[in-house]
C-alpha cells in the first residue's frame, strides 16, 4: 500500500505518514503533556440547571479546601471587562462565567484554581451556588413563541437569532405549484457532537518577558491569538499561541471556549501557569455541538422525474448562545449547497435560528459549514421523490445530474461548481458494487419476506473557504499561507497557517513541496501551530487545508523555483531564458545532458549564488478564486432483522472525486475515518435533552463512538476530476465521507423497509426505531386488510 518517494514524483504516491512513528509509539505531544514549574490546575463549576437565576455564590468552603488558591466568578470577570466573549461569526456574544443567570445545563459558573487536579476538583465541589429555577425552553419550536425570553441581555427582545435566505422564493413557490409531482419531507438532522478523543484544554502562563504563552488544542491558532488580543486587550505581539499535537478536532476545536479565558485570567491574576483540561462530560455537554436542523424539504418534478424546483425551510436550534463558527456573511454556512449534484432551475433556502436552554454550538462536525445538513436534506428527499414517482433512485439521480459539459456550473443558489463528472463517478460505483446483481438478490429476498436495502448518495460538497470577497471570520479574510525555506543540502522546512489534527499534513505538505521542487519529501519538515513561526492562516476545518494552504504551498514552491531558475542559469552558464524545468530538474533548453538538480541549486544558493540574493525561501498568501466542489457516489447495502430491528451494513462503497490525489493512502484513511463517523451519526449518535432541558448523553456510555469492532468494512474507489482553479487540481477530501454517507445509510434502511410502505426514518436509526417502523407498518397493513 505505501511506498517511498525519492526526489520529485511525489504527488499520487502512497507515502507512509511521517507523523505516524511518533503517534503509534505514544510519543505525540499533546497539550496535557506540557507542565511548568509552579503550575496550577483549574476546574470549572457548572450549572446543574438548564435555566435558573443565580441568587448567590458562596466560595468560602471552597477556599478552605487544602491547595485551593482562588475562585473566580462571572462578577469578577465582568468587573474586569471580561464578562462576555464575542462568538466567531460576530452575531452574538457568550458569557464566560454565568452572569446573573444560567442558560444551559453544565454552563460554566465559577473557576477554581488549585495546586493539584484533585484539589481543584474538590474545591469545585465545595462552591455553593444558590439557584432559582426558571421555566425551560428545550425546543426551538417552543422558543419561537417567545413565551419565555431567554436572552434579555440582547437588544432584540426575541428568541429569534436570525433569518437567512438565498434564492428566489416567489419563483420557487410558483414552480412548485405548477409541478406535476411534488414531495415534501420534514427531516431532522439531530444534534450530535464531534467528541474528539482528546477533549479541549490549555496551559496559560506569562513568561519572564510578560508575554502570554498559550498552549491550546486549537484548529485555528492564529485566529485564537487575534481573538485573545481583542478580548483581553493584551497586545497581539505579547501573545504566543502554540497548538501542539491534537487528538482529533472535527470542528470542536475551532471556537474559543470560556475555559480558555478563565485560564488566562487565572494565570494573570495568580502569577502561575494554569492548566485546564476538560473532562469527557464537559466536552460533550458544553463545547460546540453540531447540526440540530429541522428541515422542511420540498421537491418539484415533472411527471417523468426532471427536477423543477427545490425549497428548504429550516428551523435551527442554536442553544443558549449563537456560537456557530461560520464565516461572517454566512450565518447558515454553505447551506445553499442543498440543490446538490442536480441541475435545478430554481430554488430557495432559508434558515431561522432560535435560542433554547441547551448547550451552544452549531459548529461544523467534519464538514464545511452546514454542508452535511444540506447534503442529507437533498439526498434523503431524492429517495422520497423516487418512491413517489415509482422510479429507481439511481435513475432519478442520473436524470438530474449536472452534466460534465455544464461545468463551471452556476447553481440556482449562487455557487459556481468548479468541476465534476457525476455520471462517471456513479457508473464506477454501480460497476464496482455490482448493482444489477444486488437488485436481483433483493428481489429474491423480498419474495421470501426478507428485508434488504440498497441506498445511494450522490453528493456534492462546497469546501475550501474561501475567496476574500465573500469569506471572513471576525473580519479576517479566509486566505491561508505557507512559508518554505530550502536549506543548503536540499532539505527544507515548510510552515503553514493550518494545523493538522490527524489529517497527515506533515506528509502531504512535504509531498507538494517535493513535487514542485524535485526534492526528497522525507527531508521536508512540516511545522504548524506555532504563531511565532508560522505565517498567518485561518486554520484547519471545513476541508480548507488542501484547497487553500495546499495551494499556498504549491505557489510558494513555485516562487522558490523562479528564484532557483536564476541560480540554475548561473550554474549552467546560460541566460535565464534558456533554462527550463523538465522532469524535476533544470535543463538547458533542448540540451537534455546539461542539467542541474534543485539540490545542487540549493547548495549554490548559499555558496555560489553569483549576483543573486542569497538563500532560497518564499512565502505565499493564497486567496482562493473559488471554492472547490468534491463529490462522490456512496452505496450502502443493508440487511434488517425484523424481530430486533438490527441493521447490518453488509457492504459500503465510497467512490470519491476529490480532484488530484496527493497521497492515496491518506485519502483512503480520511475516507475510512469519515465513513465511521457518518455511520455513527446515522445509527447511534445523538445529544438528547429531556423536556426539562437535562442533557442525557453526558459520557461515552450513552454517547456512542464506534470502534473497529462495529464499523462496517469500507470499500473505496476514486475518479479524478481536477479542480481547474487550484494550482495542483486538489479539492479536499477529509469531510466528504461524513457529508455523503449518512444519506446512503438511511436511504438503504428505508429502501429495505419500503415494501412495508416506510418512506422516512429519522437519525439516529436505532434498532428500536426500525423495529417500531416495521411493527407499525405491519399493524397498519393488518388494519387495511381487515377493512
Amino acid at each position: 500500500m505505501s511506498a517511498d518517494v525519492k526526489a520529485g514524483h511525489a504527488i499520487g504516491v502512497a507515502m507512509k505518514r511521517k507523523e505516524d512513528p511518533r503517534f503509534v509509539q505514544g510519543k505525540g505531544h499533546y497539550v496535557d503533556d506540557f507542565s511548568f514549574p509552579g503550575m496550577l490546575f483549574m476546574a470549572l463549576v457548572r450549572s446543574p440547571y438548564p435555566h435558573a437565576t443565580i441568587k448567590s455564590i458562596d466560595i468560602s468552603a471552597a477556599m478552605k479546601v487544602p491547595g485551593v488558591k482562588a475562585v473566580i466568578t462571572g462578577k469578577d470577570l465582568e468587573a474586569a471587562g471580561l464578562g462576555w466573549l464575542p462568538t466567531f461569526h460576530g452575531l452574538d456574544k457568550q458569557m464566560v462565567l454565568a452572569i446573573g443567570k444560567v442558560l444551559f445545563q453544565y454552563q460554566e459558573v465559577a473557576a477554581v484554581f488549585a495546586e493539584s487536579r484533585e484539589a481543584a476538583a474538590d474545591g469545585a465541589e465545595q462552591v455553593q451556588v444558590d439557584y432559582d429555577p426558571l421555566p425551560v425552553v428545550a425546543d426551538p419550536f417552543a422558543s419561537k413563541t417567545d413565551t419565555v425570553l431567554l436572552r434579555p441581555d440582547r437588544e432584540q427582545k426575541t428568541n429569534h437569532i436570525y433569518h437567512w435566505e438565498v434564492g428566489d422564493r416567489d419563483r420557487t413557490d410558483q414552480t412548485l405549484a405548477k409541478s406535476a409531482k411534488r414531495v415534501k419531507q420534514r427531516i431532522w438532522f439531530q444534534r450530535c457532537h464531534p467528541a474528539p478523543l482528546e477533549p479541549c484544554g490549555c496551559v496559560a502562563f506569562f513568561d519572564t518577558m510578560g508575554r502570554l504563552q498559550f498552549y491550546v488544542t486549537s484548529q485555528a491558532p492564529h485566529v485564537y491569538r487575534t481573538a485573545l488580543s481583542l478580548v483581553t486587550g493584551i497586545p497581539e505581539d505579547r501573545i504566543h499561541v502554540i497548538s501542539p499535537d491534537i487528538g482529533g478536532g472535527f470542528g470542536n476545536k475551532v471556537p474559543v471556549y470560556p475555559g480558555y479565558v478563565c485560564a488566562v485570567v487565572g494565570a494573570l491574576k495568580l502569577g502561575h501557569p494554569v492548566k485546564w483540561i476538560e473532562t469527557r462530560t464537559e466536552n460533550l455537554t458544553s463545547t460546540g455541538f453540531a447540526r440540530d436542523y429541522h428541515m422542511d424539504v420540498e421537491l418539484g418534478a415533472t411527471a417523468d422525474g426532471k427536477l423543477t424546483a427545490v425549497k428548504v425551510a429550516t428551523t435551527a436550534d442554536h442553544g443558549a448562545f449563537d456560537c456557530a463558527a461560520d464565516p461572517t456573511k454566512y450565518p447558515a454556512g454553505m447551506f445553499g449547497i442543498c440543490t446538490g449534484s442536480y441541475d435545478v432551475p430554481v430554488a430557495h433556502a432559508e434558515v431561522d435560528a432560535y435560542f433554547t436552554n441547551k448547550a451552544p454550538g452549531g459548529i461544523a462536525y467534519r464538514c464545511s459549514f452546514r454542508v452535511t445538513e444540506a447534503s442529507y436534506a437533498i439526498e434523503r428527499t431524492m429517495d422520497v421523490l423516487a418512491d413517489e414517482l415509482g422510479i429507481d433512485a439511481v435513475e432519478l439521480r442520473r436524470k438530474n445530474f449536472v452534466k460534465k459539459e455544464q461545468f463551471p456550473y452556476a447553481s440556482a443558489l449562487g455557487f459556481t461548481y468548479d468541476s465534476g463528472d457525476y455520471e462517471k463517478t456513479l457508473q464506477k460505483a454501480l460497476d464496482t458494487i455490482g448493482y444489477q446483481a444486488l437488485l436481483k438478490e433483493q428481489q429474491e429476498k423480498r419474495a421470501r419476506g426478507e428485508l434488504m436495502g440498497i441506498g445511494f448518495s450522490t453528493f456534492t460538497e462546497v469546501v475550501g473557504a474561501g475567496p476574500s470577497k465573500h469569506f471572513d471570520i471576525l473580519g479576517i479574510k479566509m486566505f491561508d499561507s505557507a512559508e518554505i525555506r530550502i536549506h543548503p543540502t536540499g532539505a527544507g522546512i515548510v510552515r503553514a497557517g493550518t494545523k493538522s489534527q490527524g489529517q497527515g499534513h506533515e506528509t502531504t505538505w512535504a509531498q507538494i513541496v517535493a513535487e514542485e521542487l524535485g526534492l526528497d519529501p522525507q527531508q521536508i519538515m512540516v511545522e504548524e501551530g506555532d504563531t511565532d513561526t508560522a505565517p498567518y492562516g485561518l486554520g484547519t476545518y471545513a476541508s480548507r487545508s488542501t484547497p487553500v494552504a495546499g495551494a499556498a504551498i504549491a505557489m510558494a514552491a513555485r516562487r522558490i523555483r523562479e528564484k532557483a531558475r536564476k541560480i540554475a542559469a548561473h550554474l549552467l552558464e546560460v541566460g535565464e531564458a534558456d533554462v527550463e524545468w523538465v522532469d524535476y530538474r533544470f535543463q538547458v533548453k533542448g540540451v537534455p545532458a546539461k542539467t542541474v538538480t534543485m539540490k545542487e541549486v540549493a547548495f549554490a544558493a548559499y555558496t555560489n549564488m553569483a549576483q543573486n540574493e542569497p538563500g532560497l525561501e518564499a512565502t505565499f498568501y493564497y486567496d482562493p478564486p473559488n471554492m472547490t466542489f468534491p463529490n462522490g457516489t456512496y452505496v450502502a447495502v443493508v440487511d434488517v432483522d425484523r424481530e430486533t430491528g438490527e441493521v447490518k451494513v453488509r457492504r459500503f462503497l465510497a467512490v470519491d472525486d476529490c480532484g488530484t490525489i496527493i497521497n492515496p493512502m491518506i485519502v483512503e484513511g480520511q475516507v475510512h475515518g469519515g465513513l465511521t463517523e457518518g455511520f455513527a451519526i446515522a445509527f447511534m449518535q445523538e445529544i438528547q435533552y429531556d423536556a426539562d432541558g437535562n442533557n442525557l448523553n453526558t459520557n461515552f456510555t450513552d454517547y456512542l463512538v464506534p470502534t473497529a469492532q462495529e464499523a462496517p468494512h469500507w470499500e473505496t474507489a476514486q475518479t479524478v476530476t481536477p479542480s481547474p482553479h487550484h494550482p495542483i487540481g486538489a479539492k479536499g477530501v477529509g469531510e466528504s465521507p461524513n457529508v455523503g454517507s449518512p444519506a446512503a445509510f438511511v436511504n438503504a434502511v428505508v429502501d429495505a423497509l419500503s415494501p412495508l410502505g416506510v418512506r422516512h426514518l429519522e437519525m439516529p436509526v436505532t434498532r428500536e426505531k426500525v423495529w417500531r417502523a416495521i411493527r407499525e407498518a405491519e399493524a397498519g397493513k393488518g388494519k387495511a386488510a381487515r377493512t
Binding site: T701, Q709, E710, R767
Partner: protein, 292 residues
C-alpha cells in the same frame, strides 16, 4: 473525572484482605478488576474511604476445572475464560458466548467474573449466565466461608449477599452433563455497551431427546438478572419443538420487567427478551444437533 480522596491497601493474602475489610466495614471496598468501581469513583458516584486491592492474590486468579464444578477465582479475568483450553466444548457454550460479548476486549483484560457478580449491575452479563448455569458464590464471612446459590446471592440492583466486611472468593459453575449446550444472546448498541436486552440459555437433553434440564435467565429485565422459572418449566420434560420454544419465549417476554432508558423502551425490551430466548434455545439445540 477525579475521584474523591481514598486510602489504598494492597493485600498480600486473602486473610490480610479479609482483616482490612473487617476493620473498615462499610467504608471499605474490594478492588478487583476496577472496571466498574473505578469509573464510579471517577464520577464520584462511589466514594469509598478505603480500597482493598486483591489483585496481588495470585491464588485467587485460578480457573480450576474439577469433576463437579468449575471454580473461577475472585481475580480470574474475563479474558482468562475467553481463552480457557476447554472453552470450545459444547457443554461450556454458554460461558463461551458470554466471554466474547461481555464489555469489550480491553475491559475483559482486567474485569473479573466474580467482580461482575458482586457488582450486580441490572444489565450485567455474568449475572444472567450464572443464573442459567445455576452457579454458586463462595463468600468469606466472620463465620468462615459459605457457598451461596446465585439465586440467593443476587439481592437487588448493586446489592448482593456479600455483607459489610465480607468478600467473595470464587464462583462455582457446575460441570454440565453430557448433552448440554447453551447460548448467550445479547442486543447491544455497540461493542462494550451493557445489554439493551440479553438472554442466557442452557439446556441438557436426555437419552430420548427430551429436555432434562433448562436454565433460562434474562439481563436488563428487572432490578437484577432474573431467572424465568415459567420458561424453564415450559421446557423441562418436553421434546424441543417450535411450540415449546415459543412458550418459553412468551414466558420470558412476560417475565421481563425492564426500565425504559436510552437503550430502549419497556415494550421493545420485553419483545427482545422473547426473541432472544427463542434464538438462544434454537442455537443451543443446534449445537446439540437438534433443529427446532
Amino acid at each position: 473525572m477525579i475521584p474523591a480522596a481514598f486510602d489504598y491497601i494492597r493485600a498480600h493474602s486473602p486473610d490480610e484482605a479479609f482483616s482490612h475489610l473487617q476493620q473498615h466495614g462499610g467504608d471499605a471496598r474490594v478492588l478487583a478488576g476496577g472496571q466498574s468501581l473505578i469509573p464510579a469513583m471517577r464520577f464520584r458516584l462511589a466514594r469509598p474511604a478505603v480500597l482493598v486491592d486483591i489483585n496481588g492474590l495470585a491464588d485467587l486468579g485460578r480457573l480450576e476445572l474439577g469433576r463437579t464444578a468449575l471454580a473461577i477465582g475472585a481475580i480470574a479475568r474475563d479474558s482468562a475464560i475467553e481463552r480457557a483450553p476447554w472453552i470450545g466444548e459444547t457443554r461450556w457454550s454458554l460461558l463461551h458466548d458470554v466471554s466474547r460479548v461481555v464489555a469489550d476486549p480491553v475491559v475483559r483484560q482486567m474485569g473479573t467474573v466474580v467482580g461482575s457478580l458482586c457488582h450486580n449491575d441490572p444489565s450485567g452479563d455474568w449475572t444472567a449466565v450464572a443464573l442459567a448455569a445455576r452457579a454458586a458464590v463462595v463468600v468469606r464471612g466472620r463465620q468462615g466461608t459459605r457457598t451461596v446459590p446465585i439465586d440467593d446471592f443476587l439481592v437487588d440492583s448493586f446489592t448482593t449477599a456479600v455483607g459489610e466486611g465480607e468478600m467473595a472468593l470464587a464462583v462455582h459453575f457446575p460441570v454440565p452433563g453430557d448433552r448440554t449446550a447453551g447460548s448467550y444472546q445479547k442486543v447491544e448498541r455497540k461493542v462494550g455497551d451493557f445489554a439493551t436486552a440479553a438472554a442466557a440459555v442452557q439446556v441438557t437433553l436426555d437419552g430420548k431427546g427430551a429436555i432434562k434440564e433448562a436454565g433460562i435467565a434474562l439481563s436488563a429485565a428487572g432490578p437484577c438478572a432474573v431467572r424465568v422459572t415459567e420458561a424453564e418449566q415450559a421446557l423441562v420434560g418436553q421434546k424441543p419443538t417450535a411450540d415449546v420454544i415459543r412458550a418459553a419465549a412468551d414466558a420470558a417476554s412476560k417475565r421481563s420487567e425492564p426500565q425504559a432508558d436510552l437503550r430502549g423502551s419497556v415494550e421493545y425490551k420485553k419483545n427482545l427478551a422473547g426473541v432472544l430466548v427463542a434464538r438462544g434455545l434454537r442455537q443451543a439445540l443446534a449445537r446439540l444437533g437438534v433443529q427446532a
